[in-house]
Symmetry: C2
Subunit: 378 residues, 2 copies
């Protein structure tokens, strides 16, 4: 049982779609799938712009989202309050971009006012792009993308977004918020296995593409866009992962955007209520807590690493650990993608049982599960 | 029924392995798979060097194989006698390399003597790498990689190989032939769906890596190598495609290298004998014919495009067409990966029937299938 922020559990119908015989990718049958996938991706992204699919992990998608629209020496403003924010700083520097960082402690959100100040001070319009991780799962925090995007739009720079763990788990209205490049990966809100990267590209970003000079070939998004217009792909696509993506997007469409987002919010709130009830400290504050994953700190009696180990050995349930300087200090409960109320009840019951057996018993037995159940009842 | 040079048919046990529930990639269970896969990839590549797996198509693997070991402005010698050779010239130029091309008409092999002459003339050792497509499936031709690699070794440049349709279909003894970088893709000889790129890297290539300055992050092979040493991956791997790769490599290991190569040779020879018997002209000569695919020219009576269409509509069998200037002029029969004698008998019988119905009847009925059967009997 996977309760980690990706890879996430995959519905049986998606797994079985993936097990169908591979078909040629230059066929009418494949093009029909590509067309259906594109339409549903635009629906999920709430956009009329291009939404493209590349064979790569989420990191590959973000790299594509950066290198297609910028040139070496370009100044970018990158927010970093966790492992993924840090990664996009590294990617940007690897490609010779001049990176100004706006940071916050892991567990705290980025401050939109800092973006506003830097952008307003940039009267020469030297900042070409702003890069922000929407849901920073390494610390379970959601950044205020809408507000930041507003400042970026006023300035004129490109808004490049890592929505890897928010797309499908929270509303990311690409057109309404004016997001120019939005990257995500298949193994998160999409309820399917890893292997596909997804990237939306606004008209403004395509204009920037024309003057961007970073070298590219496999990740040259114009080739994907030209082919997508004909329901084709520039290189051999992972055909069976497309089968899976088609099936999962059809499931999502049936559930509806509002239901999907409400479900994620409910699972997050139930998880947090349960952890509070068993006196396990939460890393992020309520108003910025990610709908993808909840980060919980270990206590003197209930060590984070031991909780993860026992969850695996006693209940065959995977939780995630902390990364970098939070390694050993936190555990993370994923509630992202193909998850329902039962999963959260199960996970909170298991964690409550383990925490209690470790000697942290300053709560009424059953308090955690009850608190979760209360939230789930609405 | 897929009779194209990729994607190729996938065995049921590989499809079902892929349909297993996704597992976390930072677990002992995943590392055990990664370890098994690495060992079997080294066996298949006949090498003691690193063999790395990236989430990408074969084109992504080739891009990784080029950009990790070279710098902008470096001179490379690239062989081109088909669509894929052309593509590596484009990739090289996209990354600012100075490309000298050695070409041959599509359907003809590259001449090793031309490589020898260019390399011997390069006394200043300006040529940093030589790029060759081993099996050029766009024209059904195998290039003499062993001889070319010998000249490259004597010169000191890196030998970079596109083995996308030869790995698993013909012997590619990486260490014996001194191949520095060898790239392949999962949807060919590996008998699995597309989505994984595979790259072997020699010690000499790793030395070149140290001074190579082309920017890279997602395709930075050193990160893959460091993680592979711990049976990990730097980014989220396509877990379910790893399940498939493990299953297919285990099948290949059971069949044995010699049997795999003999089977491909037999299927190719049977296909060619059948086409000759029904008076369909072959594009490539016998001694250079690819074991992955056979390219057949259309005739006045039997048009290539019509043969492909009728094969699909009458027999639900996919053949491949020609690419670029050969579009409409040839059709291609794949005999690569999970294929056996029955598949070739079926395909040649279908093509014979179609050709005859088009009015090309200058052969004894059954002559094509009989010729194939004769070869298959050995």
């Amino acid at each position: 049982m996977l309760m980690i922020p990706g890879p996430t559990p995959v519905p049986e119908q998606v797994l079985l779609a993936m097990a169908k015989h591979t078909i040629g990718h230059r066929t009418a049958a494949f093009s029909a799938i590509a067309k259906d996938v594109t339409e549903n991706l635009k629906w999920l992204h709430q956009t009329k712009s291009d939404v493209l699919v590349v064979a790569a992990s989420g990191t590959g998608a973000m790299e594509a989202g950066i290198i297609n629209f910028l040139s070496a020496g370009d100044r970018v403003l990158a927010g970093s309050n966790g492992k993924f924010g840090d990664r996009w700083v590294k990617v940007s520097r690897a490609f010779g971009l001049e990176v100004d960082e706006i940071t916050a402690d892991w567990g705290k959100p980025l401050d939109p006012a800092e973006f506003k100040a830097k952008l307003e001070a940039d009267s020469g319009k030297e900042i070409k792009a702003v890069i922000v991780t929407h849901s920073e799962t390494s610390a379970g925090v959601t950044n205020d993308l809408q507000t930041i995007a507003g400042y970026v739009k006023a300035h004129g720079a490109l808004m490049i977004v890592d929505a890897v763990t928010s797309m499908g788990a929270a509303s990311v209205p690409v057109d309404d918020w004016g997001l120019d490049v939005v990257c995500s990966g298949s193994q998160k809100g999409y309820m399917m296995p890893p292997g596909l990267g997804i990237i939306s590209v606004s008209d403004k970003a395509w204009t920037a593409y024309e003057s961007a000079t970073l070298p590219k070939f496999y990740f040259d998004l114009k080739a994907y866009s030209k082919n997508a217009a004909k329901d084709l792909t520039p290189f051999t696509p992972p055909v069976n992962l497309y089968f899976a993506l088609q099936a999962s997007l059809q499931m999502m469409r049936k559930e509806g955007l509002e239901s999907i987002f409400a479900r994620h919010t409910r699972l997050r709130d139930a998880t947090r209520a349960a952890m509070r009830a068993i006196n396990m400290p939460l890393l992020a504050a309520d108003d910025v807590a990610s709908t993808a994953a909840t980060a919980v700190m270990g206590t003197d009696k209930a060590d984070a690493v031991q909780i993860i180990k026992q969850c695996q050995s006693r209940f065959d349930m995977s939780l995630a650990g902390g990364q970098d300087h939070l390694k050993g200090k936190i555990f993370r409960i994923g509630h992202l993608g193909f998850m329902d109320d039962r999963d959260v009840l199960t996970a909170t019951a298991a964690i409550e049982s383990i925490v209690r057996s470790m000697g942290q018993d300053s709560f009424t037995p059953g308090a955690g599960v009850s608190a979760a159940a209360q939230v789930l009842m609405g």
